[in-house]
Each structure stands twice: as structure tokens, then as C-alpha cells.
């Protein structure tokens, strides 16, 4: 009995099927948001308001010719897209979405104490996979894109981890579900009994949310941090030699990563799937959609930075701000 439930959890809901269809929705939402901001209509014809367009694009890429360049490191080049697709997908299992036995409960498919570290680790691993993808393609633009990916990682990885840890410090746990539970209980107690430290903590966490969003933009290689695939400079950088199925996997992997990022942002800063009246999965969809809209909105607002500007900006502003944010959190955790 338990094994059937586990199988349903992993394969159907809230596991693979749900995440993959949600990924397609997230891609559509992101494209539509950016399009509306840029005074375009975006996808329109496939399904209602073009909602099936991401699926159609994916299927189209599956039937396209799949080329492996002669200069590429064949094994690495062919294996890496699978990793880029599978690793973020595996990490989404650690995000609490919905319990399938209890309509009002939520739990991750596979959670354990310390899964926050695991998610951060898996996200960093995808960056390494991206580096390998560019490096193994045997193309000079691929190599430049790959080195840029590695450079960017130096810049955003530290503030990203720092601000991800600060809610964990408050919740005194490295498990995502405990962080969610702490947020729910502390918000409830703050509403019942508003205090100044609680208010200050809210502001500090808001700063953390902002830093985390910026770092996620870089992690997701979205504008203004898309220099690793800058089309006009290095012709899509590390992706340049990929085509067909592998390109489809890369694109889907990118959007799974976007869902993972939005889920993580929701879980550690926006109270996860918890919320009044509606079941957790609805709240999860609402909150992650909000995060995706924020990410897409930011990516439509700016011009692309240069790699040196991005790295120095991250070290000049983001890292000190993240350190301050963590220190403020520690100080406030003593008071509360």
C-alpha cells in the first residue's frame, strides 16, 4: 500500500508528471509576461492563449535532426543534457508541495533534515554540468560561454547560499519543511501579537528575498545576467552546438530549474505552500507564479551587464549585503 502511494507521489502527483506539466505552464507564463512587457502578444495560437506552445516547441525539437559536432568530446557532450534536465527535476522532489493523503497538509516527496543544503548543492551541480556542456562542444563560442558560466558562479554562489541560510538560522533547522513550518507559526504569532523585533525581522528577510531573487536571476542565466548565452556576443554561448533532442532537454532543464528556483524562493521566504482557505497545491501554484512573474519582469527591465561588471558588482554590493543580512538575522534571532 505504502509503495503504491510512493509510486503515485513520485510519478504522478506531486512528482514527475505534475512538475513537468507545471514546468510547461511556467515557461508559458514567463514568455507571456515578458511578451506583454515588451508590447508583444507572445504565444497565442496553440491552445488557449498559446498555453500549449511550450509543449509544441518541445515536440518540435524532439523530431529535429540531432547533430554531434566532430570536434566535440562525444560522451560528455551527449550525456550532459540529460544531467541538466534530470538534476533540477530531482531537486524539486525536496520542495514541499502537497500531501496526497491529506488535502490540507503538505510535505516534500523526499524530505530529510538538511535537504536545503541538498537543493543548493544540486543547483550548483547543474552549473558545473552547463560548464561541461560548453567546454565539450569543441566550439570557441561554447568555450567562452562556459568560462563565463564559471565566472558568474564565482560571483553569485556565495550571496545565494548566505541568504538561503538566514531563514534556516531563524528556524533552527536545515530542513525546508521545518523552515516553512517556522514561517507559518511566526507569521501567526506576529499577527496575534505584533512586536518591533518581529517587524524588523520582516524587513531583514525582505532584503534577503531581494538578494535571493537577484542571485536566482544569475543562476538561471536570465537577463541582465545572460552573458553566458548572449546571443549577439557569443551566439548562445555554451548552447551553440546543441540541436534536436539535446537542445529540447537543455531548454526544458532550464525551465525545470526556473520552477525549482521559484519553489525554493517560495519555500524559504514566502511561507511555502501554506495559506488560508485553499489547499496547499493551489497556494504553491499562486506563490511560484508570483515568483516567476517577478523573475520575468526583472529580466525584461534591464540591459545585459558585461561579465566584469557583473562579477565586481556582485562582490561590491551583493556579498556585503548578504553578510549584513545574515548578521542582522542572527542578532534578531537572539531577541525573538
Amino acid at each position: 500500500m505504502i509503495s503504491i502511494l510512493t509510486a503515485v507521489q513520485i510519478l504522478l502527483f506531486p512528482g514527475l508528471s505534475f512538475i513537468l506539466s507545471y514546468t510547461l505552464y511556467a515557461e508559458w507564463l514567463s514568455r507571456k509576461t515578458v511578451a506583454r512587457l515588451q508590447n508583444r502578444v507572445g504565444p497565442l495560437h496553440t491552445g488557449w492563449q498559446g498555453v500549449l506552445q511550450p509543449l509544441a516547441d518541445f515536440i518540435k525539437l524532439l523530431v529535429k535532426e540531432d547533430i554531434t559536432p566532430a570536434a566535440a568530446e562525444k560522451i560528455v557532450f551527449n550525456v550532459v543534457p540529460v544531467f541538466i534536465f534530470a538534476i533540477p527535476l530531482a531537486a524539486t522532489f525536496l520542495i514541499p508541495i502537497q500531501s496526497i493523503t491529506n488535502l490540507w497538509g503538505y510535505e516534500p516527496v523526499a524530505g530529510f533534515e538538511g535537504d536545503l543544503i541538498m537543493v543548493l548543492f544540486l543547483m550548483s551541480i547543474t552549473v558545473l554540468a552547463v560548464f561541461l556542456a560548453g567546454w565539450s562542444s569543441g566550439n570557441i563560442f561554447g568555450a567562452v560561454g562556459a568560462t563565463r558560466v564559471a565566472f558568474m558562479m564565482l560571483a553569485y554562489e556565495i550571496p545565494l547560499s548566505l541568504v538561503a541560510i538566514s531563514p534556516a538560522i531563524m528556524a533552527k533547522s536545515l530542513s525546508i519543511i521545518n523552515i516553512v513550518n517556522w514561517q507559518v507559526s511566526s507569521v501567526q504569532s506576529f499577527i496575534a501579537n505584533p512586536t518591533l523585533p518581529g517587524f524588523l525581522l520582516g524587513i531583514v528577510l525582505l532584503i534577503g528575498f531581494a538578494i535571493y531573487t537577484i542571485c536566482l536571476l544569475a543562476e538561471l542565466e536570465m537577463r541582465p545576467f545572460d552573458m553566458s548565452e548572449a546571443e549577439t556576443e557569443i551566439v548562445h554561448g555554451w548552447q551553440v552546438e546543441y540541436s534536436g533532442v539535446k537542445l529540447g532537454l537543455l531548454r526544458s532543464g532550464h525551465h525545470v530549474k526556473m520552477v525549482l528556483a521559484a519553489g525554493l524562493l517560495t519555500s524559504i521566504y514566502l511561507g511555502g505552500p501554506a495559506g488560508p482557505v485553499l489547499p496547499p497545491v493551489i497556494w504553491f501554484i499562486l506563490k511560484t507564479s508570483f515568483c516567476i512573474i517577478i523573475l520575468s519582469n526583472l529580466s525584461a527591465l534591464f540591459a545585459r551587464f558585461r561579465i566584469d561588471q557583473m562579477v565586481s558588482g556582485a562582490w561590491k554590493y551583493l556579498v556585503p549585503l548578504a553578510v549584513l543580512q545574515v548578521m542582522a538575522t542572527i542578532a534578531l534571532s537572539g531577541v525573538i
Binding site: 512587457l37 515588451q38 541582465p224 548572449a230 546571443e231 556576443e233 534591464f302 545585459r304 558585461r306
Partner: protein, 393 residues
Amino acid sequence: MSDRQFVIPIGPQHPALKEPESFYFTVDGETVIDVEPRIGYNHRGIEKAMEVRNYIQNLYITERVCGICSNAHQTAYTGSVEEAAGIEIPERAKYIRVFVQELERLHSHLLWLGVAAHEIGFDTLFYYVWRDREIVMDLLEEISGNRVNYAMPTIGGVRRDLKKDNFPRWRKLVDKIIERTEYYIKVASTEQTILDRAVGVGYLGKSDMIKLSGAGPNARCSGVPSDIRKLNPYLVYDELDFEHIVVDNGDVLGQVLVRALETLESCKILKQVMDKIPEGEIRTKFGPLNRVPEGEAAYLVEAQRGELIHYTISDGKNMPFRHKIRAPTMANLPSLVERLKGGYIADIPIVLAGIDPCFSCTDRMVFYDEGKDKKWTWTDADLRKYRKEWFEE
């Protein structure tokens, strides 16, 4: 070349280049050390083709030298032929030519602004600018029936008239363009991510620019006055009131400012043309069989990208003996190379796009033996010999 340096080929096919042209960049890490441009991927033999067609047929060839400055090429061509033939065109035709030319400048500068935004990864601005450019395109379509090759000037005048009833509506459209352009100037000079990518990028000072004799907005952004409309007025530009836009930024921001401010000046000219345009004929007759007396003439036009020269030699027939075109990008290439040196790889697209290159206008051909490092050109007799051999084979 040390170990740290390697060569990145950009082009002939590259997303940053809208036309086939090749550049070899020697880079050290992310810094550009040296640039070697190679032109000649799009040579179409236009000047030769013009020698075997009559003057009216050549109108349609000159228009197709370039997709963006089609009207500028036609204006220069008709101007040079009229000068050689001694034809005086009606005053109204001059005003109409100016009107279409300024509309074309508007659409080209707005197009450039969008492309520049795209090159620095600011696609939102790109879409906004190109949306507003549609106003100009629709206006051009309304006047000439075409969006790209307007076919307005003809030898002896222009082919279509402007209707006076439309002027009030057009004035409103021009006001709309002015409003939008002022907004874009504000965005470009205050938005931090744009400034980060534009200030000090691809800098070239005034003295270097004079040495490398650039043309058009590329020279004017480095503080060199080069506007042919002011320096050597043609058509009716001396009767119109507009500023000679020169800024001394010298960088990409300067390029943006020059073009944006010129857009405003063009709007000013459009309004004045609508005020001042006299009534009368729009063309004097010049047919395909009309001959141009022996002689030669050169005509200078300020195209959107700079000084455009058409030089025609007639031997008394109804087709030119020789017609020579020098497009502005040719003059801008040396300064482009200088602008690129010492910059970052990431800045290559925006600096390249900065001069608003049009390589298909520019292409020249020389023979080059790489082994012997020897260069030569073919004379007319060589070409004839080659043709004879080629067809006999």
C-alpha cells in the same frame, strides 16, 4: 602571439552582423588586442551592371544598393545625373525629396536605436523603438506605396506628389515621434544598465577621428562636424532651419545621442517642409532614350550613415560610361577598427553596430596572393580578357 592570446573569428555569419562580413579578433582573455576586417563577401558588381543599362533602368539598381538608405542612394544618383545632364528640377520636387529623405533618416535612426538596444541585450527597448518606427514606415508606405524601396526620386523630379489634405494628420504623427524620441533619450541617458554598457565603450577622440576621416554620425559623435546637409547644402537644405548635431562623447553613448538628437532635427525639417512646400510641377521629362551630354558630375548626400558620394561619367550615350559609388561605411571602417581595439569581447557587437555598418554598400574587390603578400587590381582590359576566357571554356 603569446599563449594567452587567441583569434576569434566573427562573421561572415554571426548574429551581431546583419550582413556577411568577416572580422578576426585577436583577444587576450576578454580583451581585444587587434582587429582585422575582411570585406568582400557581398560584392554584386553593381557599378559594372550600371554601365550596361540606361539611366532610367539604373534608378532601380541604385535603389537596391542598400536596403536602409535606398532613397539616399537614389537621391545621390539622380542628383549626379541631373548635374551631368544640366537638368534643373522643379522646386516642389526638391522639397518632396527632402521630405522622403528625412523620413528615411527617421526610420533608419530608430531602427539603429533598436538594434543597438538589442546588441546590449535590452530587448524591451528594441521592441518599443521598433513599434514606434512603424509610424514612419506606415507614413512612407502611404506616400510611396512601399515600405523599403520607395522609388520616389526619378531623373528630373519625383514620381509621386504629396497630398496637402494629409498634412494635418502627418503633423500629429511627427509630434508623436518627437514625444517618443524624447522619452528614449531620457531612458538612454538615465537607465544605469545602458550607461554601464555605453559610457566610455569604443571611445575615439576628435583628433583620431579626423586622422581616420570617419563620416556621418560616427564622426559627429567624436566632435567632428561632418553633416553634408550643412557643409555642402544640396536640394533645399540651406532654406531649412535645423541644428548641426555634434557631441564630443566619442563613445557609444555619443552615437546614441547624435542619432536621437538628429531624429528630433529630422522631425523639425519634416514640419518645415510641410509649411514651406510650394505648388507646382513635380518632374521634368527624362526618358530612357534621353542622352546625357559628355561630361562628369559628383553629388554628395548626407545619408543616414554619413557622406554618400555618387560620381558619374557620361560619354554622350543614354547609359553611363562609369558610375562610382562610395558609401559611408567604407569611410567608417578604419575608425571602427580603432574603436574596437582595447575593448572587451562583450562590447564587440555594440561597437560594431555603433557605426551603423552597411557592408553590402561597401564591398570592394582586390586580388591578393597570401603566399607572396602581393596585391593588385584588374584593369578594364584584364576584365574583358577574363570574361572572354571564362565564356569560351
